[in-house]
């Protein structure tokens, strides 16, 4: 297929940004104000490399790279480049370069700018990995990485409560989708027999499979959370708490488009059924209208754009749901158009906010004189958003209307939704372009002046790209749309974009209708806003408040459960633990007939003759007696301290017994544990300020004694039972035989711990440390409470 050198570089596309992210803080410290320019080279280089692949992909080639990942489970870290993933990756890296450059100026002087670069580059890497991944486990990993990195980005201003809340909300909602994606991927692998999406696509769809409904539900849920479809949309507007470059990146070409990408990617496997179409078209259409109405309600420029992003996501989902070749071409062209103009607009709005000190649309006006370049950039973007001829947005609109001219009621109602949605989006576009920049000059909190070049390059280039792409319909059609749409559908799609304007075409008239309605929306924006705000007040609750209620309920529930289980009485904990221990010992013995084994057999005759004293030496007897004395002393000790020491004596005697009977390791450890537990118990006891004596009422004494005897007897019986049966020595034989030759160690216990079962030990030491941290936290807490 492809040359090996090329293969490796595809993996680097996804992994290189992470490396850059790790180095970004250091680089920022070294280069200061130039760090944005330097770090923007990373996405720019990726963009250039991906662009060099474009001719081959456009010619119908696909590239695939697989690296062994977990060979034992047949898992590969595989990447796949076709038209769809390449267009997404190009958009991500291209806009990413502009965003990194822009961030350097937007956040100039911010104390955590280096960290910010790290986050945003890592996010970009996750996003690139997501669209290039072929293996579903890799896809899921990158998917979750985008959730985590976007959490860090949205909550970047972590000292503000609203930012923290928005970050948590985005994480919670998108992680619900992440879990759905994981389960969906596993079920899909079971049903389709492969982790590789390319293999699954080649194997034909699963539309007839018995598990189709489940898989569809899980994947659609994943996509809807990420792409903020109603009713899971509310996290997206809240995520505007992030610094503007983050919003510009997350909500134009990345994060939220991951769901769109997933749906497009899954079209050959899950698409083209009635359920698929009904789900996507209805939810997408509703989100389109919901978002565009929501945008009209807002006066904050960023919030307006966020709501239009919701609408655009709904639009894309709807188009994927339609699934016809024309609709899918529209998906590709609309995705590109939207990414370009939305990123440009967010950046322009950020520039206004940065230079004028506000982004309230009512507090801005006449900025075009002071910020002419920003105005031009915003205007270029809005022209594409409106879909005027000679922009890429024009083709997007033409394509989406084209598939819906058949005249049946589904097409007609979808068409109505699309025209209405586009009209409102266009109206918002006009508002964003005209209101802050033209008209009378309004005094702003800061004296506005033009933004620095690093903040202008992005919006201007992206805005211009929307026009340039619109002027090159043949290239756009052949190199971008056709490969992308072909990759989604699996059949070759022929591009048919043309600059020619056909006055007889109904499409042109639909477009014209959209423009007229857009102007109407623009003119009526203020009264509409008033009405919508009143309606919002009348309803009184939103999906956002439902989220809060659910989260609060969860916290209350976990609080109740914790209080029920952890009542804080040490006595009950111990009773519970040891009763459960006794039950665990006796239960299986009773159920599995262990007592029958322990009973002496009938033919033993006079069994008293069979009992003999073990043949021990005198000093061995001495140690046994010492242990017994220790034990008795524990019971009769007048003070708690005495009992603790006696327990230590008994433990030390047991350690000696271990030593004499050939388990020096055990003896060693036992001795140290005894020493430490005596020390710690003594410390704890002095700490707790208990009575020196342990006087408990008789009924407690009886109860505790009973539990103690049951536990002791249970352990003894269990040991006898184990010794009675035939010991399966296969494992110990293996260890004995191989310990020296392959593990180079004569101490089998140690070899087992650090080599044969090293992974277990790794887990155990982590638990030890975790427990230590918990103990420290408890002790510090007590100290804090104490006056």
């Amino acid at each position: 297929m492809a040359l090996p050198s090329l293969d490796a570089s595809i993996a680097l596309v996804a992994l290189f940004p992470f490396l850059a992210a790790a180095l970004a803080p250091l680089l920022h410290r070294l280069t200061g104000p130039f760090s944005g320019w330097i770090l923007a080279l990373v996405p720019a280089a990726i963009f250039a490399f991906l662009l060099s692949l474009l001719p081959r992909i456009a010619a119908g080639e696909t590239l695939r790279l697989a690296i062994g990942w977990v060979p034992a489970y047949g898992l590969e870290l595989s990447f796949f480049v076709d038209g769809l993933s390449l267009v997404f990756a190009l958009t991500i890296s291209g806009i990413g370069a502009m965003i990194v450059l822009y961030s350097g100026a937007y956040l100039a002087g911010h104390p955590h700018l280096g960290r910010f670069f790290g986050f945003i580059l890592a996010f970009m890497g996750a996003m690139l990995g997501l669209v290039l991944a072929d293996n579903m486990v890799a896809l899921f990993t990158f998917w979750e990485l985008t959730s985590i990195t976007s959490f860090l980005l949205i909550g970047f201003d972590h000292q503000r409560m609203a930012a923290r809340r928005a970050a948590t909300q985005a994480l919670v909602i998108t992680n619900i989708g992440g879990m759905a994606l994981l389960v969906g991927a596993i079920v899909l692998q079971q049903a389709g027999g492969s982790w590789e999406l390319s293999v699954l696509r080649a194997g034909g769809g699963l539309q007839e499979h018995g598990l189709y409904g489940l898989i569809l539900a899980l994947f659609v849920l994943a996509a809807f959370t990420k792409s903020a479809q109603f009713p899971l949309h509310f996290w997206l507007p809240n995520a505007m708490e992030a610094p503007t470059p983050v919003s510009a990146f997350l909500h134009s070409a990345t994060m939220v488009q991951a769901g769109v990408y997933l749906l497009a990617r899954m079209t050959p496997i899950l698409g083209d059924t009635l359920v698929w179409m009904a789900l996507l078209v209805s939810f997408g259409g509703f989100t389109l209208i919901w978002g565009s109405i929501g945008a009209l309600r807002q006066t904050d420029l960023k919030q307006m754009l966020a709501q239009t992003t919701l609408a655009s996501l709904g639009l894309l989902v709807l188009l994927i749901g339609l699934g016809s070749p024309v609709a899918i071409t529209a998906v590709m062209v609309y995705f590109v158009a939207h990414a370009l103009y939305k990123a440009a607009l967010f950046m322009a709005v950020g520039a206004v906010d940065h230079e004028a000190g506000t982004r309230e649309i009512t507090a801005l006006g006449g900025l075009a004189d002071k910020m002419p370049v920003t105005f031009i950039a915003a205007a270029l973007a809005v022209l594409s958003m409106l879909g005027l001829p000679l922009t890429v947005g024009f083709f997007a609109k033409e394509e989406m209307y084209l598939g819906l001219l058949s005249g049946d009621w589904v097409s007609v109602s979808t068409l109505v939704v699309l025209v209405a949605g586009n009209a409102m989006l266009g109206g918002i576009g006009l508002l964003v372009m005209i209101k802050p920049f033209l008209g009378e000059t309004v005094p702003t909190p800061k004296t506005a002046h033009e933004a620095p070049i690093a903040m202008l390059a992005g919006p201007l280039l992206l805005g211009a790209a929307g026009i340039v792409a619109g002027l090159l319909p043949d290239w756009l059609g052949h190199d971008i749309l056709a490969p992308g749409a072909t990759a989604i559908l699996g059949d070759a799609v022929v591009p048919h974009l043309s600059l020619a304007i056909n006055l007889a075409s109904p499409l042109l008239w639909l477009s014209a209708l959209t423009w007229v309605l857009s102007i109407l929306v623009f003119r009526l924006a203020v009264p509409m806003r008033t009405v919508l705000r009143r309606a919002e007040h009348a309803i009184g609750w939103t999906a956002d408040s439902v989220f809060d209620a659910v989260m609060f309920g969860l916290i209350r529930l976990s609080g109740a459960v914790t209080r029920a289980l952890h009542h804080g009485q040490l006595e009950f904990y111990l009773i519970l633990v040891f009763s459960a221990f006794a039950l665990a010992l006796f239960g299986p013995m009773l159920v599995l007939g262990g007592f029958d084994w322990l009973q002496p057999k009938a033919e033993l005759g006079d069994w008293t003759t069979l009992i003999s004293m073990p043949d021990l030496r005198l000093y061995e007897w001495g140690i046994v007696v010492l242990a017994v004395i220790g034990l008795v002393a524990v019971l009769v000790a007048p003070s708690r301290l005495g009992a603790i020491l006696a327990l230590g004596v008994q433990g030390a005697a047991v350690a000696l017994i271990f030593l004499l009977f050939g388990a020096p390791d055990l003896a060693f450890t036992q001795l140290m544990v005894e020493v430490l537990s005596v020390a710690v118990l003594t410390l704890v006891m002095t700490k707790l300020r208990l009575d020196i004596r342990d006087h408990r009422p008789f009924e407690d004494w009886g109860r505790d004694g009973l539990i103690a005897i049951l536990c002791g007897a249970g352990v003894s019986l269990m040991l006898m039972l184990v010794l009675n049966g035939t010991l399966d020595t296969r494992l110990s034989d293996l260890f004995t035989a191989t310990s020296v030759p392959i593990a180079h160690g004569a101490n089998i216990v140690n070899v087992i711990l650090v080599d044969y079962r090293g992974f277990d030990t790794l887990g155990e030491i982590s638990v030890v440390m975790g427990a230590g941290i918990a103990i420290l936290a408890l002790l510090r807490r007590r100290k804090g409470v104490r006056p």
């Binding site: 450890t669 410390l683 002095t686 700490k687 090293g758 230590g772």
Partner: protein, 141 residues
């Protein structure tokens, strides 16, 4: 417990125990011992040290927070497992090197580093708990 005899003897005891704990840890692969028991001995020595000279003195002597020692232990143990990735073997495949030092051959291996990691975790965790407890009882006194 702050007697003169104890305070005079404690540094001696602590030093001996520490050296012994390292010895026990390193010999563990072939003789009784190992990281866990070595860590226990070292932690016990810290407890003794704390009783004799006060927790503040121990913390000053340790220079770093004992929990950080434990953390570095987990990292070391995990990293020793990762070393096998460089020879394209599964995670935690042990690697053995025999360094020829002229008179003797010194075996160096990833399980050894793993065991040192275990030592550090046990040492760090238990001494930080013991020191925290001692700190509390000092506060009462």
């Amino acid at each position: 417990m702050n007697t003169l005899i104890f305070r005079t003897l404690a540094p001696l005891i602590v030093g001996t125990m520490l050296v012994f704990s390292i010895y026990v840890c390193l010999r563990g692969h072939n003789e009784p011992g190992g990281g866990f028991i070595g860590g226990l001995i070292a932690a016990a020595s810290m407890a003794v040290f704390g009783m004799a000279s006060g927790v503040a003195e121990v913390r000053r002597a340790l220079r770093v927070d004992p929990m950080a020692i434990a953390g570095s232990g987990v990292v070391l143990a995990g990293a020793s497992g990762l070393a096998s990735l460089f020879i394209e073997a599964p995670f935690m495949t042990s690697i053995w090197l025999y360094l020829d030092l002229g008179d003797t051959v010194l075996p160096v291996s990833t399980p050894m580093f793993f065991d040192i990691g275990v030592y550090l975790v046990v040492f760090g965790t238990l001494s930080s708990v013991a020191l925290a407890l001692e700190e509390e009882s000092e506060g009462d006194a």
